[in-house]
């Protein structure tokens, strides 16, 4: 896999694990245990889904390079990721006393938000670096 791609995915996983650790602390030390349990459930399934997406994107790009000009069927695994979200929702609906639905829904969106925020952060960082290089050159 490409170094930049692996680095980005590692950053997303790192951020998600950070949120998961904070959620476990909230679950253990605050009275809102159901909400944090739902958040942990949603974040865990969303993390699985992000890892699966990263692997599938790598496979699609690899297939585009490897089988140039040939017909090749590669899927993005959308149905599998939807199934993961459905599984999380069914668990939260089955045990409403243990897992909060709102927490689970927020947890499902967290890794995506982390990816987006990280992309903006990296972009601004690169821009600043490029500007610095240009200033040094002139």
């Amino acid at each position: 896999m490409n170094d930049n791609y692996v680095y980005r995915i590692k950053r997303v996983i790192q951020g998600t694990f950070f949120i998961l650790a904070a959620s476990f602390l909230g679950w253990g030390f605050t009275p809102a245990t159901e909400w944090f349990a739902g958040l942990i459930l949603g974040t865990f399934f969303a993390l699985l889904s992000v890892l699966f997406l990263a692997w599938k994107v790598h496979r699609v790009v690899q297939a585009a390079l490897q089988y140039k000009g040939q017909k090749r069927r590669v899927t993005l695994g959308t149905s599998s990721r939807f199934s993961l979200a459905i599984l999380a929702a069914i668990i939260a609906l089955q045990f409403p006393d243990t897992f909060s639905l709102s927490g689970m829904m927020i947890g499902l969106l967290l890794p995506t938000m982390i990816t987006y925020i990280d992309a903006i952060y990296m972009h601004t960082k690169m821009r600043k670096k490029e500007k610095g290089v240009k200033r040094c050159a002139y």
């Binding site: 490409n2 994107v57 585009a64 689970m104 992309a119």
Partner: protein, 72 residues
């Protein structure tokens, strides 16, 4: 119950249309770009990952909302 089924169907259906069109555009352009310029693979792959993540967040949310409308 009947209205719940209708709500679920509309939510999932509209979200699936959006995700289908969006994913198709992202993947199509990325594959085109990678085959034209294989050395830009890393950047394009990263952009595709971020794009698909963003596009599919809404349908996933819609599926959960539909499930809540059905069984909640």
């Amino acid at each position: 119950m009947e209205l719940g089924v209708l709500a679920a169907a509309i939510a999932v259906g509209l979200a699936a249309i959006g995700a289908g069109v969006g994913n198709g555009m992202i993947v199509g352009r990325t594959v085109e770009g990678v085959s034209r310029q294989p050395e830009a693979r890393g950047t394009l792959q990263t952009i595709m990952f971020i794009g698909i993540g963003l596009v599919e967040a809404i349908p996933i949310f819609a599926v959960v909302v539909a499930l809540i409308a059905l069984f909640g």
